[in-house]
Symmetry: C2
Subunit: 438 residues, 2 copies
């Protein structure tokens, strides 16, 4: 079921706001600002002076405040006109907040499993959301070897619903093109991915870092690996040109929150500020990449690794299986777009041909996902942004050993993705490289 | 060399005009209107009452006037808010004139070989161009078995320059995305292609027509050919999602004008109102398709067919060879975009790897072109819009025989494009089907 939202026929047009009145919020100004939003004030209860505000942003780009009041709590996320981690020397447009909200609203409409939006203040680049007080970042839960069994199926379903329902399989071509044009202005964020994922790790670049000196030779070998580089550029070409669906664009395990309050699991996808029309396999690959990275990190985190390693590979397979299963349901029941029209298949009594087209479509998407997974793995080991799963491993030599095995899979996924072909086969390769039981 | 134009860094932003003051031109109002444009009046010379105006539009969509004055002549093309061929029951937005002009201006800047624009009156959906008085539509020249030896090389080069220079191989990603967003609003024209090329010929549809009753069984067999339909939908998916470059979008032999005045050949590409960001192979395929159709039509046009049949296949090969050759030159000298960056290849002394990436890129593009060629051939025999090359063949049984052979190649190109792989191999198949010497 699709809920009301920005993809309805009569939804008002959206445009990047004017940021002339933008003011970055200092900690002591947050309560006053939120008090101006009735729906937010009501959620918090009491008076602004009763509200407790703390800054919790552990990401690289924005300010994130948790505000707690007598009646409830909220999360307020404000973009800054530069990359928070780096400072004003790396400007980044405030419009990413607009695109994050636009994507969140679509995800809420099409798939759920995102935080509820209480208020979007466009000109302030500020999104006020429900506070997921009992949730933790999935990556942290995985590092702590906690197992949330519903994460993989929820995420598989989430990706199927967001990707299918924003694509030409579901939307009329004109509507899809309007969506694509809207998000095409989110170029600054896409450029980060273009550079940090698909380019910089494969050349000498001051932003690169790796476990040194252990991986110095490996990094040099990657930079000279023309087969790898060509395959990475084929994937970058897809990233640049393949406008298949509204992708989250940064769907790693740090963009997922999980909770197990009162024994009931809950899973949410956050932070879609990289959203744009790109290849469907990019989101699926991002998630697989981070499960594989978590898998290879286990040997760096002490006894008991084996069970978690196996569990992580099972989750990777489940992500794909649940994605493909839900995608297939939508193919059969909601294929109302211009692509693969029902008029040419089911309406002519050719359901088998439709199923074959679906199978081929998913087979191609799966290969794409494997390639993007490999690209996303390598950049976390050789590029600017690393993952805590690996970063927290000491000593460095142990970390380097884990990273070397992860890089071996990354290369295989990028270069041999067509031969590997399936997530199940990729999991077997991962297990083989890490010495895990399958 | 790239000339000044809309792709320069400081070019002003473009937007679809307001059509509130739009007035369709009646024949007797044309001179008065053009007199208001000084650059046009100067080209014509004399006074408006001295100008001779005639309507020559033989296309399906617009009014086209030739205006001759004492000093020179011009061509004025005005869009109507509906499809001219059908009438007001098939509305079509005036904005196509804006996109045609925007594409013409880019083609002029990037590749030349288009008519010179004298005046674009956006709100009147009116483009005033130089009159190509000595030129004829290439399709007509081909039907008359005239051979313009420079057409294939000029068109191969034109496609290489427009496609390469509007792609991520040449433009920075943000600039390319801005271009893509601009042309993404040209959805009504793209929808015509989506329906008439990729959908309607493969189902019962009132707009379809074919040589009946001769091809009744063939048309029914195509509608039930699930392998063909699946392959066509894979191509439609590419058409809908693959935003590789600014394609002309309708580059058949009726969108090319040739001249041989005073023994000097001249070749121009006209009518890019279908322009949008799509797969590079679409333009190449469109041109190949129409050369193949001309090839298969020869046997319907009396004695002397063999030499022309062979010549046409040579032109198809030359189109590809000249396209690939020029594309390769640009790859080596103008690869300044975000895709396949020089920094990862040539700058690291890896020119061989760059060449291999180019070879693989062109191999993939060639396969795409073959598939789109097949799609464009079939729609001209089974869909709404046919080509005069075949339409003029009498009796119908002879025409049907030619069309049957053309359809056989069309199916092979669509379904077996990966196996056929090269334009040269496609030409051999065409020759084999038509009994031509190779």
């Amino acid at each position: 079921m699709i809920h009301s939202g920005p993809l309805e026929k009569d939804a008002p047009p959206e445009a990047v706001p004017d940021y002339g009145a933008y003011e970055p919020l200092a900690l002591d100004r947050v309560a006053l600002r939120l008090a101006a939003y009735p729906e937010v004030a009501a959620r918090l209860g009491g008076r602004p002076e009763d509200w407790r505000v703390r800054e919790v942003g552990d990401g690289n780009l924005n300010f994130v405040y948790i505000v707690e009041g007598p009646a409830g709590s909220v999360c307020a996320k404000q973009a800054l006109p530069f990359v928070r981690l780096v400072g004003e020397s790396w400007p980044l447009p405030l419009s990413r907040s607009f695109f994050e909200h636009a994507a969140l609203a679509r995800e809420a409409q099409l798939a759920g499993a995102v935080p509820q939006i209480l208020r979007f203040d466009g000109p302030q680049a500020l999104i006020v959301m429900e506070n997921l007080a009992t949730h933790v970042i999935w990556r942290k839960a995985l590092t702590a070897r906690e197992r949330h069994e519903t994460a993989a199926p929820v995420l598989g379903r989430f990706m199927a619903e967001t990707l299918f329902r924003t694509s030409d399989l579901h939307l009329p071509a004109a509507r899809k093109k309007r969506e694509m044009a809207l998000f095409s202005a989110n170029t600054a964020l896409a450029k980060i991915t273009e550079d940090l994922v698909f380019t910089d790790p494969y050349r000498v670049h001051p932003l690169n870092r790796w476990t040194s000196p252990d991986l110095d030779e490996t990094a040099a070998a990657v930079r000279a690996d023309t087969e790898w580089k060509r395959a990475i550029q084929d994937l970058k070409w897809q990233f640049l040109t393949s406008a298949e669906a509204l992708v989250h664009g940064d769907l790693h395990t740090g963009s997922v929150m999980v909770s197990n309050a009162d024994g009931a699991e809950d899973v949410r996808v956050i932070d879609p500020e990289f959203a744009f029309y790109g290849p469907m396999g990019f989101d699926v690959g991002a998630l697989l990449a981070n499960l594989f990275l978590a898998h290879f990190a286990q040997d760096g985190h002490g006894p008991g690794a084996e069970e978690m390693k196996a569990w992580l590979l099972v989750q990777a397979s489940r992500v794909w299986d649940c994605f493909a299963g839900r995608f297939g349901e939508l193919w059969r029941t909601e294929r109302g777009g211009d692509a693969y029209p029902v008029a040419l298949f089911e309406a002519q009594g050719e359901a088998d041909a439709s199923q074959e087209a679906l199978d081929a479509f998913l087979a191609r998407l799966q290969v794409d996902a494997l390639g993007f997974a490999g690209a996303k793995m390598a950049r976390r080991i050789l590029g600017l942004a690393h993952v805590s799963d690996l970063e927290t491993i000491e000593p460095a030599s142990l970390r380097a050993a884990c990273e070397t095995r992860a890089l071996a899979l990354a290369r295989q996924l990028v270069v041999e993705r067509g031969t590997i072909a399936t997530v199940a086969a990729a999991c077997r390769r991962a297990a083989s490289l890490s010495g895990a039981a399958t």
